[in-house]
């Protein structure tokens, strides 16, 4: 009786686990499968016709969607734009958040609590609220200085850096809090300046935390859609928005879109595996240990 229930329980667990795996992988597999089909095969698929239902294994396996990735939609150019913008965001947010996080983890000062509070508060507002004034700001800035921020790498890097900052600062602060203060004090006694301590002592010690912040910033900029849909133009369009161009009112190029999807996902997949632990912990831990 008891062992019978145990067997039933194990069966239940395995059935559940298989369902989880199938559900999780389903869109990934459909994406990869679609990327190797020809547009013709996808478009002519019709499940009412027993000869032509959509199939998991492509009838005619083709690399065409990958080799022609830049032809109808300039996906490689968008990929380059995304690399520049995400890379820039990554570097800028490392430096700004390193200084701020160091300050928050090492010093006691009057505006500290309000500042941390305001970091959390920014998360309460929807992106769309910032977008309109932000757009007006870009237009006004252009009028007075002649510098075009809209549809420029600089403007996008600046925007995304400040989006990444609140979370990056909180995440890095809790990491720096784990580095003993005695190390800085020793360096100070040896005549090291504050900047010297940050660059020569803290930077090397905080590498895992910095890696997490860097990758968080990169992925955030890589995936953002709302601001990219208004503030980028033909020269700066990012992959997240460019991907949608495969479907127009005239033509649905699903096969090309799936190949592009695979290419857009791969960098994120690789980067995320390095730092998933820090980001998951930081996401809730960093935000709650205010």
């Amino acid at each position: 009786m008891n062992s019978g229930r145990k067997v039933l329980r194990m069966i239940g667990i395995y059935v559940g686990a298989i369902i989880v795996v199938v559900v999780v992988l389903f869109p990934y597999l459909w994406m990869v499968s679609g990327s190797f089909k020809s547009t013709l095969e996808i478009q002519s698929a019709d499940f009412r016709d027993p000869e032509l239902p959509p199939r998991w294994i492509p009838r005619h396996f083709t690399w065409e969607n990958y080799t022609r990735i830049n032809q109808t939609v300039r996906m490689l150019d968008y990929f380059k734009n995304s690399m520049v913008i995400s890379g820039g965001t990554m570097l800028a947010s490392i430096f700004l958040s390193l200084f701020a996080a160091y300050s928050l983890s090492r010093f006691r000062f009057r505006l500290k609590e309000p500042y941390v509070g305001s970091l959390l508060l920014t998360q309460m507002f929807p992106g769309i609220l910032f977008l309109i004034p932000y757009y007006v700001m870009f237009v006004v800035f252009n009028r007075f200085t002649g510098v075009q921020l809209r549809n420029s790498y600089l403007g996008m890097i600046f925007t995304y850096t400040s989006f990444a900052l609140p979370f990056s600062i909180l995440m890095l602060r809790s990491f720096l809090a784990g580095i003993p203060r005695e190390i800085d004090e020793q360096a100070q006694i040896d005549g090291c300046s504050t900047l010297g301590i940050i660059f020569r002592i803290i930077l090397p010690l905080a590498r895992p935390g910095i890696a997490a912040v860097a990758i968080y910033g990169f992925i955030m900029a890589w995936n953002e859609m709302l601001f990219a849909s208004v503030l980028t133009g033909t020269e700066t369009k990012t992959v997240a928005i460019g991907l949608l161009e495969f479907i127009t009112t005239q033509e649905s190029r699903w096969a090309g879109m799936m190949a592009a999807s695979v290419i857009v996902t791969i960098p994120v997949l690789i980067l995320f595996t390095f730092v998933q632990k820090q980001i998951i912990e930081g996401l809730v831990g960093g935000a709650t240990k205010g």
């Binding site: 499940f47 160091y102 769309i128 309109i132 004034p133 932000y134 237009v139 006004v140 252009n142 879109m257």
Partner: protein, 304 residues
């Protein structure tokens, strides 16, 4: 908070200055500016000299919330839609996350692999995930209709992404994308429940349900509360899933504030109206978040 160095009192301020400046420009000024724009009739002609735009008082707010004007009706409907979307996505997503977390806390062969795979929906970029789901939900070539028909649940293929079913399709895709983060957080919390307490309760004759309800669940409460609070904020501001699956104009049944405001501001050039609508969305989010926080007090239990 204990000892801090007090060598140069200005040093900490210099160090946070760059971050503060960047955030002032991108977060704080725009909020104030947004409030100011919402009181003005700002359009494409006045945008480069926004102070010249006529001051119209609360007109934009009246417009946004008016029952007898098209824009007002659309906005009120979008608020209804986002509340519907948010409550279904968050509650179903949480239940699924909890169920899977409990499952993955059991011992079985291949558990580590399955735990690793659970992260996949969270990692997939929004635009990719929702584009793939858009493909999956296509009427004639989509695989969802194919399975539903071969299982006998449907007679005829249905149109998912236009009309009343659009919201259902987006909710399904959003749950797929959203549950995995919650599951990992809950799993981490489950692993912190001491084995001995559970065993003691079981040997005292508690049923598995009682053990879960009175022993395990209290350990999950803090992380659940924070996660649901964050989910409220994220889901009420949802944009990506609607844009990627339904395009810039999701239609009556699936219009949400973010998509509507974007069109009002950047296609119809009603910047003032868009700013007023954004304020309305913020107020809605803050009210729901505050009510939630009052009811469940997420901050409090985390300290205990």
């Amino acid at each position: 908070m204990f000892s801090g160095k007090r060598v140069k009192p200005l040093t900490p301020y210099f160090l946070i200055l760059p971050a503060v400046l960047a955030m002032l420009l991108v977060h704080f000024f725009p909020i104030i500016w947004g409030v100011m724009i919402s009181f003005r009739d700002l359009d494409i002609f006045t945008i480069s000299n926004w102070t010249k735009a006529p001051f119209v008082g609360l007109d934009n707010f009246r417009w946004a919330f008016s029952f007898d004007q098209q824009e007002g009706q659309n906005f009120l409907r979008s608020l209804y839609n986002i509340v519907l979307y948010g409550s279904v996505t968050i509650s179903l997503g949480y239940v699924i996350a909890l169920a899977v977390a409990i499952l993955l806390n059991q011992k079985f062969f291949g558990r580590t692999t399955v735990r690793g795979l659970v992260l996949l929906p969270y990692i997939m970029p929004d635009s990719v995930a929702y584009s793939v789901w858009r493909f999956i939900f296509q009427s004639r070539i989509g695989i969802v209709n194919q399975y539903l028909i071969s299982l006998g649940l449907l007679k005829e293929p249905v149109v998912w992404l236009v009309g009343p079913r659009a919201m259902t399709a987006v909710i399904i895709a959003s749950i797929w994308k959203g549950w995995s983060l919650g599951c990992l957080l809950l799993l981490a919390a489950l692993q912190s429940v001491p084995r001995e307490i559970k065993d003691a309760a079981l040997s005292d004759g508690a049923t598995p349900w009682q053990v879960f309800r009175y022993v395990t669940f209290p350990f999950l409460k803090p992380v659940s509360k924070i996660y649901i609070l964050l989910s409220i904020i994220w889901n009420f501001h949802a944009f990506n899933q609607f844009k990627a699956m339904l395009g810039s104009s999701p239609g009556y049944y699936a219009e949400v504030p973010s998509t509507l405001i974007l069109r009002e501001a950047f296609q119809n050039f009603h910047f003032g109206l868009g700013a007023a609508m954004s304020m309305g969305l913020v107020v809605l989010t803050v009210v729901i978040a505050v009510v939630y926080a009052r009811l469940f007090q997420p901050g409090k239990t985390i300290e205990e």
